[in-house]
Symmetry: C2
Subunit: 211 residues, 2 copies
Amino acid sequence: MTTKLSKDRIVEAALAILDTDGSGALTFRALASRLATGSGAIYWHVADKNELLAAATDYVIGRAMSGVVGGADPREAIRAIALGLFDAIDAHPWVGAEPLQSGMVLVFEGIGGRLQALGVPDRALFDCWSALVNYILGVAVQNAANARHRPQGTERTDALGAIAARWAQLDPEIYPFMRRIAADLPGHDDRAQFLAGIDLILAGILGSPVA
Amino acid sequence: MTTKLSKDRIVEAALAILDTDGSGALTFRALASRLATGSGAIYWHVADKNELLAAATDYVIGRAMSGVVGGADPREAIRAIALGLFDAIDAHPWVGAEPLQSGMVLVFEGIGGRLQALGVPDRALFDCWSALVNYILGVAVQNAANARHRPQGTERTDALGAIAARWAQLDPEIYPFMRRIAADLPGHDDRAQFLAGIDLILAGILGSPVA
DNA sequence: ACCTGAACACCGTTCAAGT
DNA sequence: ACCTGAACACCGTTCAAGT
Protein backbone atom coordinates (compact mmCIF):
# COMPACT_ATOMS: atom_id res chain seq x y z
CA MET A 1 0.00 0.00 0.00
CA THR A 2 1.30 3.39 -1.02
CA THR A 3 1.34 6.70 0.87
CA LYS A 4 -2.04 7.87 2.03
CA LEU A 5 -3.89 10.25 -0.21
CA SER A 6 -3.98 13.89 0.89
CA LYS A 7 -4.85 17.26 -0.53
CA ASP A 8 -1.16 18.09 -0.77
CA ARG A 9 -0.40 14.99 -2.80
CA ILE A 10 -3.35 15.70 -5.08
CA VAL A 11 -2.26 19.29 -5.68
CA GLU A 12 1.27 18.10 -6.33
CA ALA A 13 0.07 15.64 -8.95
CA ALA A 14 -2.17 18.31 -10.49
CA LEU A 15 0.80 20.67 -10.78
CA ALA A 16 2.81 18.01 -12.56
CA ILE A 17 0.03 17.45 -15.09
CA LEU A 18 -0.61 21.18 -15.59
CA ASP A 19 3.04 21.99 -16.13
CA THR A 20 3.84 19.18 -18.50
CA ASP A 21 0.64 18.84 -20.51
CA GLY A 22 -1.34 22.04 -19.92
CA SER A 23 -4.69 22.70 -18.33
CA GLY A 24 -6.55 20.68 -20.95
CA ALA A 25 -4.92 17.52 -19.64
CA LEU A 26 -6.00 18.00 -16.04
CA THR A 27 -8.93 15.62 -15.63
CA PHE A 28 -10.00 13.67 -12.58
CA ARG A 29 -9.38 10.49 -14.49
CA ALA A 30 -5.80 11.49 -15.34
CA LEU A 31 -5.27 12.59 -11.77
CA ALA A 32 -6.68 9.34 -10.39
CA SER A 33 -4.53 7.16 -12.60
CA ARG A 34 -1.39 9.13 -11.73
CA LEU A 35 -2.24 8.74 -8.04
CA ALA A 36 -3.21 5.09 -8.57
CA THR A 37 -6.64 5.53 -7.07
CA GLY A 38 -10.26 5.99 -8.09
CA SER A 39 -11.52 9.32 -9.35
CA GLY A 40 -14.06 9.48 -6.54
CA ALA A 41 -11.33 9.32 -3.90
CA ILE A 42 -10.13 12.76 -4.93
CA TYR A 43 -13.48 14.24 -3.95
CA TRP A 44 -12.90 13.16 -0.38
CA HIS A 45 -10.03 15.65 -0.13
CA VAL A 46 -11.05 18.34 -2.60
CA ALA A 47 -14.51 19.86 -3.13
CA ASP A 48 -14.34 20.18 -6.91
CA LYS A 49 -12.13 21.18 -9.82
CA ASN A 50 -12.30 24.87 -8.97
CA GLU A 51 -10.89 24.27 -5.52
CA LEU A 52 -8.16 22.14 -7.01
CA LEU A 53 -7.14 24.84 -9.47
CA ALA A 54 -7.29 27.51 -6.77
CA ALA A 55 -5.01 25.46 -4.52
CA ALA A 56 -2.53 24.87 -7.35
CA THR A 57 -2.54 28.58 -8.19
CA ASP A 58 -2.00 29.62 -4.59
CA TYR A 59 0.91 27.25 -4.34
CA VAL A 60 2.66 28.67 -7.39
CA ILE A 61 2.08 32.30 -6.42
CA GLY A 62 3.09 31.67 -2.83
CA ARG A 63 6.36 30.06 -3.86
CA ALA A 64 7.13 32.88 -6.29
CA MET A 65 6.54 35.53 -3.67
CA SER A 66 8.53 33.77 -0.98
CA GLY A 67 11.49 33.93 -3.33
CA VAL A 68 11.31 37.72 -3.50
CA VAL A 69 13.81 39.29 -1.14
CA GLY A 70 12.81 42.31 0.92
CA GLY A 71 15.42 44.71 -0.35
CA ALA A 72 16.11 48.19 0.94
CA ASP A 73 14.96 50.37 -1.97
CA PRO A 74 11.15 50.42 -2.32
CA ARG A 75 11.36 50.96 -6.08
CA GLU A 76 13.56 47.91 -6.46
CA ALA A 77 11.23 45.92 -4.22
CA ILE A 78 8.25 46.84 -6.39
CA ARG A 79 10.11 45.76 -9.50
CA ALA A 80 11.13 42.50 -7.84
CA ILE A 81 7.57 41.66 -6.78
CA ALA A 82 6.23 42.50 -10.23
CA LEU A 83 8.86 40.45 -12.02
CA GLY A 84 8.39 37.56 -9.60
CA LEU A 85 4.72 37.39 -10.48
CA PHE A 86 5.39 37.89 -14.18
CA ASP A 87 7.91 35.06 -14.33
CA ALA A 88 5.76 32.71 -12.26
CA ILE A 89 2.77 33.13 -14.53
CA ASP A 90 5.00 32.93 -17.57
CA ALA A 91 6.42 29.62 -16.39
CA HIS A 92 2.93 28.28 -15.50
CA PRO A 93 0.59 29.87 -18.06
CA TRP A 94 -2.42 27.94 -16.76
CA VAL A 95 -2.31 30.18 -13.68
CA GLY A 96 -3.82 33.11 -15.52
CA ALA A 97 -6.96 31.22 -16.51
CA GLU A 98 -8.92 31.37 -13.27
CA PRO A 99 -9.31 34.46 -11.05
CA LEU A 100 -6.33 34.90 -8.79
CA GLN A 101 -7.44 36.90 -5.76
CA SER A 102 -6.72 34.50 -2.90
CA GLY A 103 -2.97 34.06 -3.23
CA MET A 104 -2.63 37.63 -4.28
CA VAL A 105 -2.62 39.32 -0.87
CA LEU A 106 1.13 38.90 -0.70
CA VAL A 107 1.50 40.92 -3.90
CA PHE A 108 -1.06 43.50 -2.81
CA GLU A 109 0.61 44.06 0.54
CA GLY A 110 4.09 44.16 -0.94
CA ILE A 111 3.23 46.83 -3.46
CA GLY A 112 1.11 48.88 -1.06
CA GLY A 113 3.72 48.92 1.66
CA ARG A 114 6.41 50.15 -0.72
CA LEU A 115 4.20 52.93 -2.04
CA GLN A 116 3.77 54.14 1.52
CA ALA A 117 7.52 53.91 2.00
CA LEU A 118 7.93 56.05 -1.11
CA GLY A 119 5.88 58.74 0.57
CA VAL A 120 2.72 58.61 -1.54
CA PRO A 121 0.19 60.76 0.35
CA ASP A 122 -2.91 59.17 1.85
CA ARG A 123 -5.44 60.67 -0.53
CA ALA A 124 -3.58 59.33 -3.60
CA LEU A 125 -2.66 55.98 -2.10
CA PHE A 126 -5.69 53.92 -3.10
CA ASP A 127 -5.69 55.05 -6.73
CA CYS A 128 -1.93 54.68 -7.14
CA TRP A 129 -1.93 51.28 -5.53
CA SER A 130 -4.80 49.99 -7.60
CA ALA A 131 -3.35 51.31 -10.86
CA LEU A 132 -0.05 49.60 -10.20
CA VAL A 133 -1.56 46.33 -9.02
CA ASN A 134 -4.02 46.24 -11.90
CA TYR A 135 -1.26 46.84 -14.40
CA ILE A 136 0.91 44.10 -12.95
CA LEU A 137 -1.88 41.53 -12.83
CA GLY A 138 -3.26 42.55 -16.19
CA VAL A 139 -0.01 42.23 -18.08
CA ALA A 140 0.94 38.98 -16.39
CA VAL A 141 -2.43 37.39 -17.11
CA GLN A 142 -2.52 38.49 -20.72
CA ASN A 143 1.00 37.35 -21.29
CA ALA A 144 -0.01 33.95 -20.02
CA ALA A 145 -3.13 33.95 -22.20
CA ASN A 146 -0.97 34.61 -25.25
CA ALA A 147 1.34 31.77 -24.33
CA ARG A 148 -1.61 29.44 -23.69
CA HIS A 149 -3.34 30.13 -26.96
CA ARG A 150 -0.22 29.97 -29.07
CA PRO A 151 -0.25 26.75 -31.10
CA GLN A 152 2.18 24.36 -29.48
CA GLY A 153 5.54 24.21 -31.18
CA THR A 154 5.24 27.79 -32.39
CA GLU A 155 8.02 30.07 -31.25
CA ARG A 156 7.05 33.28 -29.51
CA THR A 157 8.97 35.37 -32.05
CA ASP A 158 7.21 33.62 -34.92
CA ALA A 159 3.81 34.25 -33.37
CA LEU A 160 4.62 37.93 -32.88
CA GLY A 161 5.94 38.07 -36.42
CA ALA A 162 2.65 36.75 -37.72
CA ILE A 163 0.72 39.39 -35.78
CA ALA A 164 3.08 42.12 -36.97
CA ALA A 165 2.63 40.96 -40.57
CA ARG A 166 -1.13 41.23 -40.16
CA TRP A 167 -0.79 44.73 -38.76
CA ALA A 168 1.47 45.78 -41.59
CA GLN A 169 -1.17 44.78 -44.11
CA LEU A 170 -3.92 46.92 -42.59
CA ASP A 171 -5.23 49.86 -44.59
CA PRO A 172 -2.70 52.67 -43.91
CA GLU A 173 -5.45 55.26 -44.27
CA ILE A 174 -7.33 53.86 -41.27
CA TYR A 175 -4.47 52.25 -39.35
CA PRO A 176 -1.37 54.42 -39.72
CA PHE A 177 -0.20 53.73 -36.18
CA MET A 178 -0.49 49.96 -36.43
CA ARG A 179 1.65 50.00 -39.53
CA ARG A 180 4.27 52.07 -37.75
CA ILE A 181 4.37 49.97 -34.59
CA ALA A 182 4.38 46.60 -36.38
CA ALA A 183 8.13 46.80 -36.93
CA ASP A 184 8.82 47.07 -33.19
CA LEU A 185 6.70 44.10 -32.21
CA PRO A 186 8.67 40.94 -33.09
CA GLY A 187 11.94 42.01 -31.53
CA HIS A 188 10.64 43.42 -28.29
CA ASP A 189 11.48 42.09 -24.83
CA ASP A 190 8.36 41.31 -22.78
CA ARG A 191 10.04 41.65 -19.43
CA ALA A 192 11.80 44.91 -20.26
CA GLN A 193 8.58 46.37 -21.62
CA PHE A 194 6.72 45.23 -18.54
CA LEU A 195 9.26 47.01 -16.33
CA ALA A 196 9.10 50.12 -18.50
CA GLY A 197 5.36 50.26 -17.82
CA ILE A 198 5.93 50.04 -14.09
CA ASP A 199 8.48 52.84 -14.22
CA LEU A 200 5.99 54.88 -16.18
CA ILE A 201 3.31 54.48 -13.54
CA LEU A 202 5.79 55.21 -10.79
CA ALA A 203 6.84 58.32 -12.69
CA GLY A 204 3.20 59.37 -12.84
CA ILE A 205 2.92 58.85 -9.11
CA LEU A 206 6.20 60.41 -8.06
CA GLY A 207 7.21 62.82 -10.78
CA SER A 208 10.10 62.79 -13.27
CA PRO A 209 8.05 62.08 -16.43
CA VAL A 210 9.38 60.02 -19.31
CA ALA A 211 8.52 62.27 -22.21
CA MET B 1 -39.30 26.93 -43.88
CA THR B 2 -37.57 29.64 -41.87
CA THR B 3 -34.75 31.98 -42.83
CA LYS B 4 -31.65 30.24 -44.08
CA LEU B 5 -28.96 29.56 -41.55
CA SER B 6 -25.89 31.79 -41.72
CA LYS B 7 -22.89 32.64 -39.62
CA ASP B 8 -24.48 35.96 -38.71
CA ARG B 9 -27.65 34.35 -37.45
CA ILE B 10 -25.62 31.83 -35.45
CA VAL B 11 -23.51 34.56 -33.85
CA GLU B 12 -26.64 36.54 -33.07
CA ALA B 13 -28.21 33.55 -31.32
CA ALA B 14 -24.96 32.89 -29.47
CA LEU B 15 -24.89 36.50 -28.23
CA ALA B 16 -28.44 36.17 -26.92
CA ILE B 17 -27.55 33.03 -24.98
CA LEU B 18 -24.30 34.48 -23.66
CA ASP B 19 -25.89 37.71 -22.47
CA THR B 20 -28.90 36.16 -20.80
CA ASP B 21 -27.50 32.94 -19.35
CA GLY B 22 -23.73 33.32 -19.36
CA SER B 23 -21.00 31.42 -21.14
CA GLY B 24 -21.80 28.17 -19.36
CA ALA B 25 -25.11 28.02 -21.20
CA LEU B 26 -23.62 28.32 -24.68
CA THR B 27 -23.69 24.77 -26.02
CA PHE B 28 -24.20 23.59 -29.56
CA ARG B 29 -27.36 21.83 -28.44
CA ALA B 30 -28.82 25.02 -26.94
CA LEU B 31 -27.79 26.93 -30.04
CA ALA B 32 -29.33 24.33 -32.34
CA SER B 33 -32.63 24.26 -30.50
CA ARG B 34 -32.82 28.07 -30.47
CA LEU B 35 -32.17 28.09 -34.20
CA ALA B 36 -34.52 25.16 -34.72
CA THR B 37 -31.92 23.05 -36.49
CA GLY B 38 -29.55 20.20 -35.81
CA SER B 39 -26.32 20.75 -33.93
CA GLY B 40 -24.31 19.52 -36.90
CA ALA B 41 -25.73 22.25 -39.14
CA ILE B 42 -23.85 24.88 -37.15
CA TYR B 43 -20.56 23.28 -38.12
CA TRP B 44 -21.30 24.01 -41.75
CA HIS B 45 -21.01 27.75 -41.02
CA VAL B 46 -18.58 27.82 -38.09
CA ALA B 47 -15.41 25.80 -37.63
CA ASP B 48 -15.74 25.19 -33.90
CA LYS B 49 -16.63 26.79 -30.59
CA ASN B 50 -13.51 28.93 -30.52
CA GLU B 51 -14.38 30.56 -33.81
CA LEU B 52 -17.89 31.16 -32.58
CA LEU B 53 -16.68 32.88 -29.41
CA ALA B 54 -14.14 34.92 -31.36
CA ALA B 55 -16.83 36.13 -33.74
CA ALA B 56 -19.15 37.06 -30.87
CA THR B 57 -16.32 38.93 -29.14
CA ASP B 58 -15.35 40.82 -32.27
CA TYR B 59 -18.94 41.86 -32.75
CA VAL B 60 -19.27 43.29 -29.24
CA ILE B 61 -15.93 45.11 -29.35
CA GLY B 62 -16.57 46.46 -32.83
CA ARG B 63 -19.91 47.87 -31.83
CA ALA B 64 -18.47 49.45 -28.69
CA MET B 65 -15.67 51.13 -30.62
CA SER B 66 -17.93 52.40 -33.39
CA GLY B 67 -19.89 54.24 -30.70
CA VAL B 68 -16.79 56.15 -29.60
CA VAL B 69 -16.75 59.60 -31.13
CA GLY B 70 -13.52 61.05 -32.45
CA GLY B 71 -13.34 64.15 -30.31
CA ALA B 72 -10.82 66.93 -30.59
CA ASP B 73 -8.78 66.53 -27.39
CA PRO B 74 -6.53 63.46 -27.54
CA ARG B 75 -6.69 62.97 -23.77
CA GLU B 76 -10.47 62.90 -23.90
CA ALA B 77 -10.36 60.52 -26.84
CA ILE B 78 -8.13 58.13 -24.93
CA ARG B 79 -10.49 58.21 -21.97
CA ALA B 80 -13.47 57.61 -24.27
CA ILE B 81 -11.86 54.60 -25.94
CA ALA B 82 -10.84 53.14 -22.61
CA LEU B 83 -14.27 53.62 -21.06
CA GLY B 84 -15.96 52.25 -24.17
CA LEU B 85 -14.00 49.02 -23.84
CA PHE B 86 -14.47 48.92 -20.08
CA ASP B 87 -18.23 49.29 -20.32
CA ALA B 88 -18.54 46.81 -23.18
CA ILE B 89 -16.70 44.09 -21.27
CA ASP B 90 -18.58 45.00 -18.11
CA ALA B 91 -21.91 44.55 -19.91
CA HIS B 92 -20.78 41.27 -21.51
CA PRO B 93 -18.44 39.67 -18.97
CA TRP B 94 -18.00 36.53 -21.07
CA VAL B 95 -15.90 38.64 -23.45
CA GLY B 96 -12.91 38.62 -21.12
CA ALA B 97 -12.65 34.83 -21.06
CA GLU B 98 -10.93 34.17 -24.38
CA PRO B 99 -7.97 36.16 -25.76
CA LEU B 100 -9.13 39.33 -27.46
CA GLN B 101 -6.47 40.32 -30.01
CA SER B 102 -8.43 40.27 -33.26
CA GLY B 103 -11.08 42.90 -32.61
CA MET B 104 -8.60 44.91 -30.65
CA VAL B 105 -6.84 46.71 -33.50
CA LEU B 106 -9.39 49.48 -33.28
CA VAL B 107 -8.43 50.12 -29.66
CA PHE B 108 -4.73 49.81 -30.39
CA GLU B 109 -4.86 52.28 -33.23
CA GLY B 110 -7.06 54.73 -31.35
CA ILE B 111 -4.75 54.91 -28.37
CA GLY B 112 -1.56 54.97 -30.43
CA GLY B 113 -2.75 57.75 -32.69
CA ARG B 114 -3.69 59.98 -29.76
CA LEU B 115 -0.34 59.43 -28.08
CA GLN B 116 1.33 60.66 -31.24
CA ALA B 117 -1.04 63.63 -31.26
CA LEU B 118 0.01 64.36 -27.69
CA GLY B 119 3.58 64.66 -28.89
CA VAL B 120 5.10 61.56 -27.31
CA PRO B 121 8.55 61.24 -28.88
CA ASP B 122 9.37 58.30 -31.12
CA ARG B 123 11.75 56.55 -28.77
CA ALA B 124 9.17 56.48 -25.94
CA LEU B 125 6.18 55.70 -28.12
CA PHE B 126 6.25 51.92 -28.06
CA ASP B 127 6.67 51.62 -24.30
CA CYS B 128 4.08 54.29 -23.51
CA TRP B 129 1.59 52.80 -25.91
CA SER B 130 2.03 49.28 -24.62
CA ALA B 131 1.78 50.34 -20.98
CA LEU B 132 -1.47 52.16 -21.62
CA VAL B 133 -2.99 49.44 -23.77
CA ASN B 134 -1.95 46.73 -21.35
CA TYR B 135 -3.45 48.61 -18.45
CA ILE B 136 -6.74 49.16 -20.26
CA LEU B 137 -7.08 45.54 -21.37
CA GLY B 138 -5.87 44.19 -18.06
CA VAL B 139 -8.32 46.11 -15.92
CA ALA B 140 -11.26 45.47 -18.23
CA VAL B 141 -10.57 41.74 -18.37
CA GLN B 142 -10.10 41.36 -14.65
CA ASN B 143 -13.18 43.37 -13.93
CA ALA B 144 -15.11 40.98 -16.13
CA ALA B 145 -13.52 37.98 -14.42
CA ASN B 146 -14.66 39.28 -11.06
CA ALA B 147 -18.20 39.76 -12.36
CA ARG B 148 -18.17 36.29 -13.93
CA HIS B 149 -17.02 34.48 -10.84
CA ARG B 150 -19.27 36.33 -8.43
CA PRO B 151 -22.04 33.96 -7.31
CA GLN B 152 -25.21 34.93 -9.16
CA GLY B 153 -27.55 37.07 -7.10
CA THR B 154 -24.69 38.54 -5.09
CA GLU B 155 -24.41 42.30 -5.27
CA ARG B 156 -21.07 43.78 -6.25
CA THR B 157 -20.89 45.83 -3.04
CA ASP B 158 -21.58 42.73 -0.95
CA ALA B 159 -18.87 40.80 -2.74
CA LEU B 160 -16.37 43.60 -2.18
CA GLY B 161 -17.51 43.85 1.43
CA ALA B 162 -16.72 40.17 1.90
CA ILE B 163 -13.24 40.62 0.46
CA ALA B 164 -12.65 43.70 2.60
CA ALA B 165 -13.75 41.79 5.70
CA ARG B 166 -11.23 39.07 4.89
CA TRP B 167 -8.49 41.66 4.46
CA ALA B 168 -9.39 43.33 7.75
CA GLN B 169 -8.88 40.04 9.57
CA LEU B 170 -5.36 39.43 8.29
CA ASP B 171 -2.52 39.56 10.76
CA PRO B 172 -1.72 43.29 11.14
CA GLU B 173 1.93 42.47 11.80
CA ILE B 174 2.32 40.96 8.33
CA TYR B 175 -0.42 42.80 6.43
CA PRO B 176 -0.62 46.37 7.74
CA PHE B 177 -1.43 47.80 4.34
CA MET B 178 -4.26 45.39 3.56
CA ARG B 179 -5.90 46.34 6.84
CA ARG B 180 -5.60 50.00 5.98
CA ILE B 181 -6.91 49.72 2.43
CA ALA B 182 -9.82 47.40 3.29
CA ALA B 183 -11.98 50.33 4.37
CA ASP B 184 -11.70 51.97 0.95
CA LEU B 185 -12.65 48.87 -1.02
CA PRO B 186 -16.45 48.44 -0.73
CA GLY B 187 -17.37 52.02 -1.54
CA HIS B 188 -15.06 52.58 -4.46
CA ASP B 189 -16.18 53.37 -7.99
CA ASP B 190 -14.66 51.01 -10.57
CA ARG B 191 -14.95 53.35 -13.49
CA ALA B 192 -13.55 56.36 -11.63
CA GLN B 193 -10.65 54.31 -10.38
CA PHE B 194 -10.05 52.97 -13.86
CA LEU B 195 -9.87 56.53 -15.20
CA ALA B 196 -7.59 57.59 -12.35
CA GLY B 197 -5.17 54.89 -13.44
CA ILE B 198 -5.20 56.15 -17.01
CA ASP B 199 -4.53 59.69 -15.85
CA LEU B 200 -1.68 58.37 -13.77
CA ILE B 201 -0.05 56.69 -16.74
CA LEU B 202 -0.60 59.77 -18.90
CA ALA B 203 0.98 61.85 -16.15
CA GLY B 204 3.96 59.52 -16.20
CA ILE B 205 4.21 59.94 -19.94
CA LEU B 206 3.63 63.66 -20.14
CA GLY B 207 4.59 65.13 -16.79
CA SER B 208 2.53 66.78 -14.02
CA PRO B 209 2.78 63.96 -11.43
CA VAL B 210 0.00 63.12 -9.02
CA ALA B 211 1.91 62.96 -5.76
C1' DA C 1 -24.89 22.89 -51.08
C1' DC C 2 -26.89 22.53 -46.92
C1' DC C 3 -29.28 20.29 -43.10
C1' DT C 4 -30.54 16.33 -39.74
C1' DG C 5 -29.81 13.85 -35.65
C1' DA C 6 -27.85 9.70 -33.96
C1' DA C 7 -23.33 8.22 -32.45
C1' DC C 8 -18.57 8.73 -30.51
C1' DA C 9 -15.33 9.92 -27.29
C1' DC C 10 -14.92 12.40 -23.90
C1' DC C 11 -15.95 15.31 -19.36
C1' DG C 12 -17.08 16.47 -13.85
C1' DT C 13 -19.49 14.60 -10.28
C1' DT C 14 -22.13 11.22 -7.48
C1' DC C 15 -22.86 7.23 -4.87
C1' DA C 16 -23.60 2.40 -3.48
C1' DA C 17 -20.46 -0.70 -2.10
C1' DG C 18 -16.36 -2.08 -0.09
C1' DT C 19 -12.25 -1.89 3.65
C1' DA D 1 -12.78 7.40 7.85
C1' DC D 2 -11.36 6.64 3.52
C1' DC D 3 -11.23 4.45 -1.04
C1' DT D 4 -13.21 2.07 -5.41
C1' DG D 5 -15.13 2.30 -9.85
C1' DA D 6 -19.38 1.96 -12.25
C1' DA D 7 -23.05 5.08 -13.47
C1' DC D 8 -25.26 9.62 -14.59
C1' DA D 9 -25.87 13.64 -17.01
C1' DC D 10 -23.72 16.19 -19.58
C1' DC D 11 -20.22 18.13 -23.35
C1' DG D 12 -17.92 19.23 -28.50
C1' DT D 13 -17.51 17.16 -32.69
C1' DT D 14 -18.25 13.86 -36.54
C1' DC D 15 -20.64 11.70 -40.13
C1' DA D 16 -23.83 8.75 -42.79
C1' DA D 17 -27.98 9.84 -44.51
C1' DG D 18 -31.26 12.83 -46.26
C1' DT D 19 -33.10 17.09 -49.30
